[in-house]
């Protein structure tokens, strides 16, 4: 169903070329350096936009987590914000209650989100289709309402304030210009990207694709489908939590909307704009969306949603598969 990725092709009889292709698919290609070159050049070209760039990098990680669960494991979720928000509140509450060390805070954010992902996945991943979609949505709504009502702890609607961040590695202060935040987010994203890349190219990642493409057959060959899906869901939750933690730590604030349906929806939108199940959709969709949002918002803050909505409708109608899908089609022509 989601088999638009380059890896969805399976020949009935594997030719030598196919076998070699599979053997080589995990090797690094020159174009894979592009996002990092772009990020580093953005540092020198737009020094005034480093806080925005840090947000973009952290959100790319969020979209990457959604890509793992959606594009590879084929779990259509509208509740990814549950994990993002859990991470953000974990990191935020730690920093607001006297533990402002960034790296351990971030690890705690990832662990808390992974725990929520594991526990919720344990109960909801037995269903499929629309029921699963609804359950992911309800889990996020449940946590959002809990955070809203527990305003004594979370600040409720006003958001969590009073975070005190310590310097990164005991040395680099989170300053006004966002240099530390930028490199912090870049480094975390790079490490997580390496991990995700490794996962999707591993035997485990192949079996996820198998489950996405043909569940019945994977059951028939004895793959532990439920556990594979749960594992992918938990890893994805941890990544989303780290992303939430990054944004909380670098902005010093956690808003209630970090658990909202809107957050779950927009990350899907950014990912789909880039292209799902390709590992690089997140790197294209998120900067496009967030830079456009930043530009539009400075002109017409309210009506930004009209234009992004129109873009989404046009995208579905004329350019399925996102930017990367469009590039694929142009290349084949």
């Amino acid at each position: 169903m989601l088999g638009r990725g380059a890896d969805a092709v399976a020949a009935p009889v594997a030719s030598t070329a196919t076998v070699e292709g599979f053997a080589r698919r995990h090797r690094f290609r020159p174009y894979e350096a592009l996002p990092w070159v772009a990020a580093l050049s953005a540092y020198f070209l737009f020094p005034g936009y480093l806080p925005l760039a840090a947000q973009i990098l952290a959100t790319i990680l969020f979209a990457l987590s959604a890509d793992l669960v959606l594009g590879y494991a084929g779990i259509v979720t509208l509740g990814q914000a549950a994990f993002f928000g859990t991470g953000a509140y974990t990191a935020g509450l730690l920093a607001a209650h006297g533990w402002g060390e960034p790296l351990t805070g971030l690890a705690a954010a990832g662990a808390a989100a992974a725990a929520v992902g594991f526990l919720s996945g344990l109960v909801i991943l037995r269903s499929t289709g629309l029921s699963l979609l609804m359950q992911t949505l309800v889990v996020a709504a449940l946590l959002g309402e809990a955070a809203n009502k527990a305003s004594g702890v979370t600040g409720g609607d006003d958001g969590l304030q009073g975070m005190q961040m310590w310097p990164l590695l005991g040395h680099f202060e989170f300053g006004l210009y966002g240099r530390t935040a930028f490199f912090y987010c870049l480094a975390v994203l790079f490490l997580c990207w390496l991990a995700v890349r490794r996962i999707v190219h591993s035997a485990f990642g192949r079996s996820l694709t198998g489950i996405r493409e043909n569940v019945a057959r994977m059951h028939a060959i004895g793959a532990p489908v439920v556990w594979r899906r749960l594992t992918a869901y938990t890893i994805s939750a941890a990544l989303a939590g780290i992303s939430g933690g990054l944004i909380a730590q670098t902005t010093g604030f956690v808003a209630l909307d970090s658990l909202s349906l809107e957050r779950s929806g927009t990350v899907l939108i950014m990912l789909i704009i880039g292209g799902v199940g390709r590992l690089y959709g997140a790197f294209i969709g998120v900067p496009l969306y967030m830079v456009a949002q930043d530009r539009f918002s400075s002109i017409e803050p309210v009506y930004w949603y009209f234009w992004i909505g129109l873009l989404m409708v046009l995208l579905v109608t004329f350019a399925r598969g996102g930017v990367l899908g469009l590039l694929d089609r142009l290349r084949r022509r």
Binding site: Y303, W304, L311, M312
Partner: protein
């Protein structure tokens, strides 16, 4: 006696809310069940109904019934080209594309509503007779809630009779049960989809307009209330018009009770209940296996 009056008042308000929820959600259940389409934009039609009705009343001085009828017809008519031009291409397609399209429509409609009518809640000036209360057995109940229940009950009866007895209803049931068989029997499902979609949108507009005092008309309407509409459909089961009614009653009364008795929990208990029901019966309480 006092606690009995409380229970009565909670129940009465809950049933009134349930009527609004049902009118809005029933079309969603049928279109999702028949066309297999994840329609996150259904609330847009309810919102449009509310906006058209309140602006006809506030700006042009129409009475409530006329404004409501006009709004229903206008939204149903406007939904036809939307279905034909945008939705149709994605039937039976990828769920992700459907999510993207309908979320796009939600975003656009919210921004358009804010552009046309401002960010504030639309005021609803009820006729004088509807503002007060009415004495019933156990105590006084709001007249507006009473009107909602009466209108809701009439509409539900008409809808059920229509779906069960009319030829059009039989075609809808056939298409929900087995789309390909219905097509081979010569039912024009393309036209059927359009008409059903328009009917569902019109009912949603009616619900949005009637319930404008319960679910306030703001630009965030379609997104803020989406979870509630989806909850009703998910609990009630897809492609079915009775399940959502019982689900709406359950959600409406539970919501009313939670907000009155344990306001510190808000909607938390409703979501917890939904999750529990979906875990127990993934296809909803009344969905077919």
């Amino acid at each position: 006696m006092n606690s009995l009056a409380t229970v009565f008042s909670i129940g009465f308000h809950g049933v009134a809310f349930a009527m609004v929820l049902y009118l809005i959600s029933v079309g969603l259940s049928v279109t999702m069940g028949m066309m297999g389409f994840v329609n996150l934009a259904h609330g847009v039609f309810a919102m449009a109904g509310g906006y058209v009705m309140t602006s006809l009343m506030n700006r042009h001085g129409l009475p409530l019934p006329a404004a409501l009828a006009l709004a229903t017809v206008a939204v149903a008519a406007a939904s036809l080209p939307v279905e034909r031009l945008l939705y149709r291409r994605l039937y039976g397609g990828d769920e992700l594309d459907q999510v993207l399209l309908t979320m796009g429509l939600v975003f656009m409609s919210g921004a358009a509503a804010q552009y046309l009518c401002g960010a504030l809640q639309q005021p609803l000036r009820l006729p004088p007779g509807l503002n007060g209360g009415v004495r019933l057995g156990f105590g006084e109940v709001p007249a507006y809630d009473g009107l909602l229940i009466i209108c809701g009950a009439l509409l539900v009866t008409a809808l059920w009779l229509g779906i069960e007895r009319s030829r059009f209803g039989a075609k809808i049931r056939a298409a929900v049960d087995n789309l390909r068989m219905a097509q081979s029997l010569g039912i024009d499902t393309s036209r059927l989809f359009s008409l059903t979609f328009a009917l569902g949108s019109g009912l949603a507009a009616l619900g949005g307009g009637l319930g404008a005092a319960l679910i306030t008309i703001t630009p965030g309407y379609a997104l803020d209330n989406l979870v509630y509409f989806l909850v009703v459909v998910a609990i009630g089961g897809l492609g079915n018009i009775r399940g959502p009614f019982l689900a709406a009653l359950l959600v409406g009364v539970a919501d009313s009770a939670c907000k009155y008795l344990v306001p510190q929990f808000g909607a938390f208990l409703i979501y917890a209940m939904t999750l529990a029901i979906l875990l127990w019966r993934p296809r909803g309480l009344f969905g077919r296996a």
